[in-house]
Amino acid sequence: MSTDPYIWVAAILTLGVFSFLLRDNPFFCAVEHLLVGLSTGYMFCTYWHNVFVPELVTPLWEHGAGSEAHLWAVVGICFLWACKYVESVKDLSRLALAFWLSIDLGLAIPTEMEAGVIAQVVGTMGVSFNGPVEEIFGNVVLVGGTLAALTYFFFSKAHKGVVGATAKVGTWVLMIGFGASFSYILLSRIALLIGRLLFLLRDWLGVIH
């Protein structure tokens, strides 16, 4: 059995989470709230040390009156965000929200078009129909499957006749995709479960080696 206090803490917390398998209980709830608290504290410190200080505080401290003076605008926008908590001026926070959204949404239009649409269409159209029979068949399935699945998502035309049949094939293609994703998720979770059981039996109790 381990004598490392950290191993004991981790083992007790692991048992606390596993206790949920019996039913919801105070031990599990306590561990759950502990995780929320520690995770939010972790997030605060990480953003503070890795983003906020090096990208705002330090540049303003060192070059706030010179080359990095534009960062004062960020300070202003931060103040506008904080207005959300003051009832009399809370409408001002919408200016900050609008600014934040405009950058995100404005950038999303070209980047989604480039990476999500054009790159996928080029990848589908660019497949080769030369080579071994298995590969040619696979590429036919790839192109046909993509078109069929896209037809399923096309709601501007009723799913009847040829469109309906293609959409039906599209659902089968999507089902294969979901089945494959499900398998990966299940196996990854089982791998994690084996890892936790190994931790308890080997690192904590030392009953297996």
Partner: protein, 211 residues
């Protein structure tokens, strides 16, 4: 005046800057790129500040719960104490490897998170048992695909039954890619349409207006 500042000015700002940020992608001129890069640079500290505000909101909610002694307030004490502890050790001793902060992450947060996710194995298996009934063609395809891929990912199956491993590879390489591509294209088109609706002011709910 209040109406103008509350809704119209943010919408005008969103319209102008949104179109500018979308257009800058296609205009490599320094006159456009310089302000665009500057605004992208602002985004990171702004994101951090928004997260700080969210954490402040969470802490305030738990403090209220404790002060008013609402139901299950004891758990809020655990959340607040652990949050304060993590912030204290992170701010005083830093976040580098070997500090108490990294030890707490490694020996407390990681085991709890790993166990939480491993619990899902039980629930996913139980959900699969109920959902994977070959009632329709679609459900049968899902069931077969999942079984073949699971078997194909087990190393011993590759030696015992090579056709299953080959079928698993085929499913992952071709129909699975086709499904993922169609979903990606659909998601991208959806994201673009939502972005355009918001920037052009067709969807006003995002800034807190319901019409």
């Amino acid at each position: 005046m209040k109406e103008r500042l509350g809704y119209r000015v943010p919408f005008v700002l969103l319209l102008i800057l949104g179109i500018f940020m979308a257009a800058q992608y296609y205009i490599p001129h320094p006159m456009v790129q310089k302000p665009a890069q500057m605004m992208i640079q602002w985004k990171q500290p702004l994101n951090a500040f928004i997260i700080f505000l969210a954490l402040f909101g969470l802490a305030a909610m738990h403090v209220r719960k404790v002060i008013r002694k609402q139901r299950r307030w004891g758990y809020s004490v655990i959340t607040l104490t652990s949050m304060a502890l993590m912030i204290f050790v992170g701010m005083v001793w830093g976040t580098r490897h070997g500090t108490i902060f990294s030890d707490l992450f490694k020996h407390v947060i990681t085991p709890i998170e790993a166990t939480m996710f491993s619990l899902l194995a039980f629930f996913v298996a139980s959900a699969a048992f109920r959902a994977f009934r070959a009632r329709t063609v679609g459900a049968t395809v899902l069931l077969l695909s999942a079984v073949v891929v699971i078997l194909g990912l087990i190393p011993v199956v590759e030696d015992l039954c090579p056709p299953i491993a080959r079928a698993s590879d085929f499913l992952l390489k071709y129909p699975n890619t086709a499904a993922k591509r169609a979903i990606m294209i659909g998601v991208a088109l959806g994201a673009i349409s939502v972005a355009m609706k918001t920037i052009l002011g067709i969807d006003k709910t995002i800034l807190g207006r319901d019409r």
